[in-house]
Amino acid sequence: MVETSGASRRPPLESQDTLDQVKLTGTLGNDGVASLHPEHGSNGHALPPAEGATSDTRDFGGKRSKSEGSIQIRLEKTDRKGRYILTADDPEIREILRKGIEREELEAANKKPRIRFRDLVFTRQFTTFDRQNPASSESPFFGFFTLFWIAMALLLFQVSMKNFREYGSILGRNQIMKMMLSHDVYVLGLTDGAMCVGTSVTFFLQKLVQWRVLNWGRGAWVVQNVWQTVYLASVVGWAYFREWPWTHTIFAVLHGLVFLMKQHSYAFYNGYLSGVYRRKLLLENKLKQLQTMEPIHSGPSSPRDSRQMDAFSSGLDVAELSKKASEAINNSDLKRRPSIGNRTSTNLAVEQSDVATIASAIHAGTAITPDQMSTFEQVINTELEDLNRELAGKSVSGAHAYPKNLRLLNFAEFICLPTLVYELEYPRQEKINWWYVLEKLTATFGVLCIMMVISQAFIYPPIAKTLRMKEAGVSVAERWQEFPWIVSDLLFPLLIEQLLTWYLIWECILNVLAELTLFADRGFYGDWWNSVTWDQYARDWNRPVHNFLLRHVYHSSISAFHLSKHTATFYTFLLSALVHEMCMAIMFKKVRGYLFTAQLLQMPLVMMSRHKFLRSRAVLGNVIFWFGLFVGPSFLTSLYLVI
């Protein structure tokens, strides 16, 4: 499983979160001074100037600069990291540079619509606390990790001794365990199975879309959304109907939400691909139509002639097209050509692209010359190639390219994988290390044990006290007086519970799942404990959900509703806050909105932390972050309990 030690390190955040970058973008001043930034700031600035110059111009000038041989270029490092000023003395090379840059700019400008579903990078990596990760097991602070677990074990020991003395059993009164196992344990299991089976509705919907019974862009997505709403509502409704204890409910709802996100991702990605597939079929049809057409054999036509004829027939600039097509073929190694329009569109009549124009020309059935015909063919073929690449997605071999991936097995596999974002292929490992599974399973049950003991010994008593007060009819004002004491009693146990819950899910359970499904990308969390701002924490502590929100809420809302980045961020936060508040409402059986408010308050806090004063003070930012994380849970819990 461990490929190399280097491969297991998590790539820096920027390269993972940014989308499909251009290789090189640059600006060229009037004096021929170009400044360019290479793809990764780090690999460029370590290069000595001479090497950097040759390698950069090759990317940059395309094929032509290769043939130029050696050209004197000065590459100067500027004060900004990864930025260089490139000065060429030769006027010819200036021309090349300018052209290259202009093309890159054009591509960068056209790139925006392309990023829809190719934004995430899955790589082989380990989680930070995994002992297979050398960054963790060889960390100079590993001893403190040991200390933490020893402290937990000692705590367990102390509590059980105390219980033994007071109640004669090391488990104490054990109310929480009894409450959890009081009723409907089997029903919960059955419900979970039913939820799992229920997800297949999404799969069959996609099958219908594939069979062209439904059109995704026209109405199937509405059907999908309705189904998702029904799914969630039925899970919550069932939990209410059975009057489950809150532990059952929260488990079922959270698991339901996970399935919901998986279904959403599966449906919307495959739906998008179905559109691409339709367009591909349409263009193939057009190509056949074109090949059946009989070109007129006029004499050697000058470009002017053909242009005149085109202007007459369909207003098509063939010279321009052929230039584009040949450019596209020449540069196919760069994999970046001017975009040819929306790739899911199947109505060529309203489209404003070269392909659409060609299609209308074919449709009109006007006579064309062999020259034009080959140009048309080239353009359509380029487009088809592009569509095929889109359909293959992350599946490099094409074995799972779009219609082939719509198999029940593939869907079932996706439901089991520890990710919420559907891709045609993920990095996988070769075999299962059963010792690792055993280790993590032991850890899972150990952590569960500690959590039970802590909640029984330290969280249950203060909570039971508030509930008793409420039942005894103590007024709100009097309960409010008790509030600070409840908060202070809950501070430490809730922090430990929070850390342990996080460790349990993101380190133990997800790793077990990943090992069992041979999933190689273990980037389930980042180093959120070093967070300086709240948005950093939101990004890092729960990467699967963050990835889901990034792709299916943030970017989708930008591309679908044309929102600005800030608005999209706001809506993402809002959705997340609503879902969290829903969980709280289910748990406490009342809607108060405290957590909702607290979560939305993070937005101004994030803006504050972007301020110059806090930006330069990383430690202060981290202190504020931890303080919030420390006080937040107990404060909110007490609020929900007391009022």
């Binding site: 001893g143 705590l155 600070p484």
Partner: protein, 557 residues
């Protein structure tokens, strides 16, 4: 020329230069040396002898190569650094390698991937204090009950005065050293000087240790003074013995300037065995590869001259005997005297302020922890123990006390570690611009007790290695015996501190510390050694349990 097979320290010459240092032939063939000297005698007797320092003999290893300027090309700097490195390794007196580095918890440290948890530790403590205050406010009406306050203030002025006097009295080292250095007769360092120094030191230590006992101080003042006295004592010892060694070396060097007579000591330079042998092996290999065509007299002179020059190459022995140097040494956060230490370019007053603040913050936290979580437990147990007659009940209460003290003592232990090794020493390093901030290594990853003792207190470890372990190895003790002696002295010092705190000399701490030696023997077994995680877990368990157990033992039994 040299062979590695010759056992070290087996020269047949009589040990003329005192009990600690042991002759060790750098070049094993003594007859050869003497022969060559005879030949050189005729050649060099007519030469003009330089007065203080002998001329540099070879350009490639000249001892007073100037430190390259900051804007020197990297190649020059690298060469200079390499030379310095070699010189450092070739010294006779066991040296402590100081260089510019930061501590693990320094904000500038490279190891920042888990820094958030360090912040969490402090945030957790702050919240603990706040909740403790709130609870106190509710039950007693005061924010903090500070029952220990009288013990802190009881002897505070006398403590300040006595502490100042104690520090001032370390100044006797300088005149004493000048006495040894300038004496031509029996007071020379390698004759009686060392004995005189030892007697003076013992008397000094006994006086300052007994002062608080005689004056019946409170335990806080006494512990402070005792610890400070012990630190000063180590500084004193290091200063005297290193400079004494240098004075001997210098006189030998000067003797070589005179026409060589048969009475001139012609033995090869004296060399302490270093604690780790591989350094020496590497050095010998290095020597072999060096050009062997150097006359033995020149070699001897070169070695002696190197010894009296500092590793960084800026200070030579007698120049360092100034009051300013001595005062600076007293302030430096180190216990091993060197002619020169690496320094940071400038002093950061902001950093100094933060460190000072952290010192007081930590002391406050420790007081709160002991007031809230340690003293009540001990008082409670004492009352309950007084009521029981049955020894089974008594031992159960005792075990419960130990378990209740586990967490407070863990926190106190970490705080004591941080306050001393990160903040107090860091603050002094900031004052003196001392660049080597490695006052501790990653002891929390320790696999056995020896590793812990090496890593958690590096200044004292360096002192013990240089002045106790190497010195006892010098008088032909075996490695285990030297280790045992080192542990013994350390255990006595710890027992003294425990005795000062509790006013009971029961020897529990002493026994527990000496038990580490058999433990280490077990931990060094090949099978046990391989279980790294298990060893680390055992280390932590014994560390936490040991502290809490010791406290309960001293207070309750």
């Amino acid at each position: 020329m040299a062979t590695n097979g010759t056992p070290r320290g087996t020269t047949t010459q009589s040990v003329a230069n005192g009990p600690i240092i042991q002759p060790h032939a750098r070049r094993p063939v003594n007859g050869h040396l003497a022969q060559a000297l005879r030949g050189e005698l005729a050649n060099t007797s007519s030469k003009e002898a330089p007065s203080t320092a002998p001329p540099p003999l070879r350009t490639n290893s000249g001892f007073n190569t100037p430190v390259p300027a900051d804007d020197a090309p990297p190649s020059v700097k690298a060469t200079s650094a390499a030379r310095r490195e070699l010189r450092r390794k070739e010294r006779m007196f066991p040296t402590v390698e100081y260089w510019s580095r930061v501590s693990y918890f320094d904000p500038k440290s490279d190891y920042s991937n888990f820094r958030g948890f360090f912040v969490l530790f402090w945030v957790g403590l702050a919240i603990m204090v706040i909740t403790a205050m709130l609870r106190n406010l509710r039950t007693t009406g005061n924010l903090l009950s500070f029952k220990q306050w009288p013990t802190f203030t009881q002897n505070i002025w006398e403590l300040a005065a006595v502490d100042l006097l104690m520090c001032a009295s370390t100044g006797i080292d300088m005149p004493l050293h000048l006495l040894y250095k300038n004496s031509k007769g029996w007071l020379r360092w390698n004759r009686l000087g060392m004995l005189v120094q030892s007697v003076v030191q013992a008397a000094w230590l006994a006086f300052w240790i007994s002062w608080p006992f005689v004056r019946q101080w409170s335990w806080t003042a006494q512990v402070f003074l005792t610890l400070h006295t012990l630190a000063m004592f180590m500084k004193l010892h290091s200063y005297a013995f290193y400079n004494g060694h240098l004075s001997t070396t210098l006189s030998r060097l000067k003797a070589l300037d005179m026409p060589i007579e048969p009475t001139t000591p012609m033995t090869a330079p004296l060399r302490y065995p270093t604690p780790r042998d591989y350094v020496q092996d590497a050095r010998q290999e290095h020597e072999d590869s060096e050009s062997p065509i150097v006359s033995p007299l020149m070699q001897l002179r070169d070695d002696l001259a190197k010894e009296v020059t500092s590793p960084l190459g800026n200070v030579t022995y007698p120049d360092n005997l100034t009051l300013a140097n001595f005062l600076d040494y007293l302030l430096c956060p180190t216990l091993c005297y060197e002619l020169e230490y690496p320094r940071t370019p400038e002093r950061s007053y902001l950093e100094l302020f933060y460190k000072t603040l952290a010192v007081f913050g930590c002391i406050f936290l420790m007081i709160v922890t002991s007031e809230e979580f340690i003293i009540p437990v001990l008082d409670d147990s004492r009352i309950r123990l007084a009521r029981t007659r049955n020894w089974i009940d008594g031992s159960l209460i005792f075990a419960e006390t130990v378990s209740r003290l586990l967490f407070p003592f863990m926190v106190t232990f970490l705080l004591v570690f941080l306050v001393i090794f990160e903040y107090v020493l860091g603050a002094f390093a900031e004052i003196t611009r001392f660049a080597d901030r490695q006052f501790y290594s990653d002891w929390w990853n320790s696999l056995d007790w020896l590793e812990f003792s090496r890593e958690w207190n590096i200044p004292v470890h360096n002192f013990f290695r240089r002045h106790v372990y190497s010195a006892s190895r010098g008088v032909k003790l075996s490695r285990p015996a030297s280790t045992a002696i080192t542990f013994f002295i350390s255990a006595v010092a710890h027992e003294l501190v425990m005795g000062c705190i509790t006013r009971k000399f029961r020897g529990y701490g002493f026994i527990l510390m000496m038990m580490q030696i058999p433990f280490v023997a077990i931990q060094r077994l090949p099978w046990v050694r391989k279980q790294e995680l298990l060893n680390n877990v055992m280390f932590w368990i014994f560390m936490i349990m040991g502290l809490s157990l010791l406290c309960a033992l001293y207070v309750l039994v």
